[in-house]
């Protein structure tokens, strides 16, 4: 993968999130949604380094990870519309969806809770000798959760093939991360677990792929977990209804100058720009087709509401 493919995937994620926002405004999406606009380069760069069989665990801001892992667009829209999707049948919606068919262990709407679960997927890989790795994404705020600390230490002492990607968008939900930790970079905690930590430009898919690729290779060869801290910026609120009064004037406008899609656009020569225009049009069409297909799916049958509590 390289530029055109990465751009296509990032554009698909962006378009998905923007379309979702419109659907939310139109009342087609119940519940709150947490969007990753601006952070697309992280799942796209990271998933480029993975193979089939490698598990990915994300957070409620995880639509980009689902798409980067190849989860079906129509299924995602339908799931968030509360329809009988092939993903989770409307039982999970935006913040807790998963897809075993794409090794997507899934999102988690409890902050930090995905890391122990991802350690479990890594344990399976280790004990069965499958050669798979387990990659888990969290936000900067999750580094203050006890679960993350427990799971990181556990993965370290067991040498589990785990890669922790911290998407540092500098906001711990609606509070600045610098007010919540006494370290400048969250990877400063990595030596405390005896694992490597690297900080990368999270708006550059190549930089992310290089750093995550190194961590994945290390995990795959049995050398244990690593932390990659990808610096990025959120172009939107913590959740769909977030008015973002807490963000300083001009911050989002400045972020828009640095976000991954704009960055590629700015550097593009006329030939590439034409190619990107074509990709944008194709992505817009596929997203719209997915919305149409999702709308055609029925709402789940209330008679099934008690199914799947137990095997």
């Amino acid at each position: 993968m390289g530029l055109p493919d990465d751009y296509r995937l990032m554009a698909r994620i962006r378009r998905f999130e923007e379309r979702l926002t419109a659907l939310k405004d139109d009342g087609e999406i119940p519940g709150s949604i947490h969007l990753c606009n601006g952070q697309e380069a992280i799942p796209v760069g990271a998933c480029r380094t993975l193979r089939d069989g490698d598990h990915v665990t994300a957070t409620y801001r995880g639509h980009g990870w689902a798409l980067a892992r190849g989860v079906d667009l129509t299924g995602l829209f339908a799931e968030m519309m509360g329809r009988d999707s092939a993903l989770c049948g409307g039982r999970a919606a935006s913040p807790y969806l998963s897809d075993p068919g794409r090794w997507f262990v899934g999102e988690n709407s409890i902050v930090g809770a995905g890391v122990p679960v991802a350690a479990g997927a890594a344990l399976t890989a280790q004990r069965t000798g499958s050669g798979a790795v387990s990659l888990v994404s969290i936000g900067d705020g999750a580094m203050n959760q006890g679960n993350v600390h427990e799971a990181l230490n556990l993965a370290a002492v067991l040498d589990l093939p785990l890669v922790l990607v911290v998407e540092n968008n500098v906001y711990s939900e609606m509070s600045r991360i610098e007010d919540m930790v006494r370290v400048r970079q969250l990877t400063e905690r990595a030596p405390g677990y005896g694992v490597p930590g690297r900080v990368v430009d999270g708006n550059d898919p190549d930089a992310v792929a290089e750093a995550v690729g190194e961590a994945v290779a290390r995990a795959r060869e049995g050398s244990g977990p690593s932390i990659v801290e990808a610096m990025t910026e959120r172009l939107v609120g913590h959740y769909s209804g977030d008015a973002q009064h807490y963000r300083p004037a001009g911050e989002i406008a400045a972020a828009r100058e640095r976000e991954p899609l704009v960055r590629i656009r700015r550097a593009a020569d006329p030939a590439l720009a034409a190619q990107l225009d074509a990709i944008d049009a194709e992505v817009a069409a596929e997203v719209e087709a997915a919305v149409t297909a999702a709308r055609a799916l029925p709402f789940p049958d209330p008679a099934t509401v008690k199914e799947h509590v137990y095997v």
């Binding site: 049948g89 807790y96 809770a113 350690a119 399976t124 799971a151 137990y310």
Partner: protein, 326 residues
């Protein structure tokens, strides 16, 4: 074939069976491998099965229960040990938001075949943080199976049922029962989870109990028989799946119901049994349902204070006398 084993030996035998017959099982928890467990439940297992199958974890209940979930989702069948049931509270998110919900939230596409083993209840001198009986918290959570073995045989059979189940199962043993000895059917076929059992037939009153209170109820039934009161004792065994049919059938015979558990009274699982009886057995009941439970105080450590709160056979006897009007 049946062997005479202590309860804790029956647990060890069931774990040996699990690791021996199922390659997908792994066992982990605090001090379970090299130390063999604080009560000897895993004695000898590390030597026999090695570090790939049984290993020690850091003191991180939430971390390793979450790890059990992820491992179960991706193909292993983990058995995780919580050393004292009291320590499960630091990992409550795992039970309530993670382990119990993933199957449902994925529309049945993931499953979480794992077992959480723990031991609970008071023992002399154990403080409020080492004496909880938390079964009602787990039974309140849809998606979990919950079993409380009362005998060595059930310590063996129910733990095997839990391992064989494709649902997540909490097995809460009673530390005070560990030294008790009884026949264990080591060659019995593995049963599915669930099923209450009438362990003493009677005609005047039904006493429903589980865990340590089953033996207290049997003691009580013996004493009551001397007074001419015939008590039927039901060992509920599993709170989930709940076999209320066995309870209702017993109440239909006796017309009276006493529920006994060591957990605190308010919101204890006895309240659920009483509520169901009020709904489903109303026509059969000739007296109000009575509950035997610890009063709503944290467990004190001093034995003289513990004796004032821990329910025993005498409390069951007194509740039955009130219920039958003597």
């Amino acid at each position: 074939m049946s062997e005479s084993l202590r309860y804790i030996q029956a647990v060890n035998a069931a774990l040996t069976w699990a690791l021996d017959t199922r390659e997908d099982t792994v066992y982990f928890g605090e001090d379970v491998a090299l130390p063999g467990g604080p009560f000897g439940a895993t004695k000898g297992l590390h030597k026999r099965f090695g570090s790939t199958r049984i290993f020690d974890t850091p003191i991180s209940e939430s971390g390793f229960l979450g790890m059990a979930l992820g491992a179960a989702m991706t193909g292993l069948r983990p058995i995780a040990e919580i050393m004292y049931a009291d320590f499960s509270f630091v990992a409550m998110d795992q039970f309530v938001n993670q382990i119990s919900t993933i199957r449902y939230a994925s529309n049945g596409r993931w499953r979480a075949p794992l077992v959480v083993r723990m031991q609970q209840g008071y023992s002399p001198g154990a403080c409020a943080q080492h004496s909880h009986s938390p079964e009602a918290y787990f039974a309140h959570t849809p998606g979990l199976r919950v079993g409380l073995p009362a005998t060595p045989d059930d310590a063996y059979q129910m733990l095997r049922s839990a391992v064989a189940s494709d649902d997540p199962v909490v097995i809460a043993e009673a530390r005070m029962l560990y030294p008790t000895r009884g026949p264990v059917r080591t060659d019995a076929p593995v049963e599915p989870v669930g099923g209450a059992r009438v362990v003493r037939p009677g005609t005047d009153v039904t006493v429903v109990a589980w865990s340590r209170m089953v033996s207290a109820a049997l003691d009580a039934a013996g004493r009551l028989a001397e007074e001419g009161i015939s008590a039927e004792v039901v060992d509920l065994r599993w709170l989930n799946p709940l076999d209320f049919d066995t309870v209702a059938a017993s109440v239909a015979r006796t017309g009276r119901l006493v529920v006994a558990h060591e957990a605190n009274l308010t919101g204890g699982f006895g309240a659920e049994i009483a509520a169901r009886a009020a709904t489903e057995c109303f026509a059969d009941l000739r007296a109000p349902v009575a509950r035997v439970a610890a009063p709503d105080v944290p467990m004190p450590a001093a034995p003289t204070l513990q004796a004032a709160v821990v329910p025993e056979a005498a409390d069951v006897v007194a509740a039955v006398r009130r219920t039958v009007g003597r």
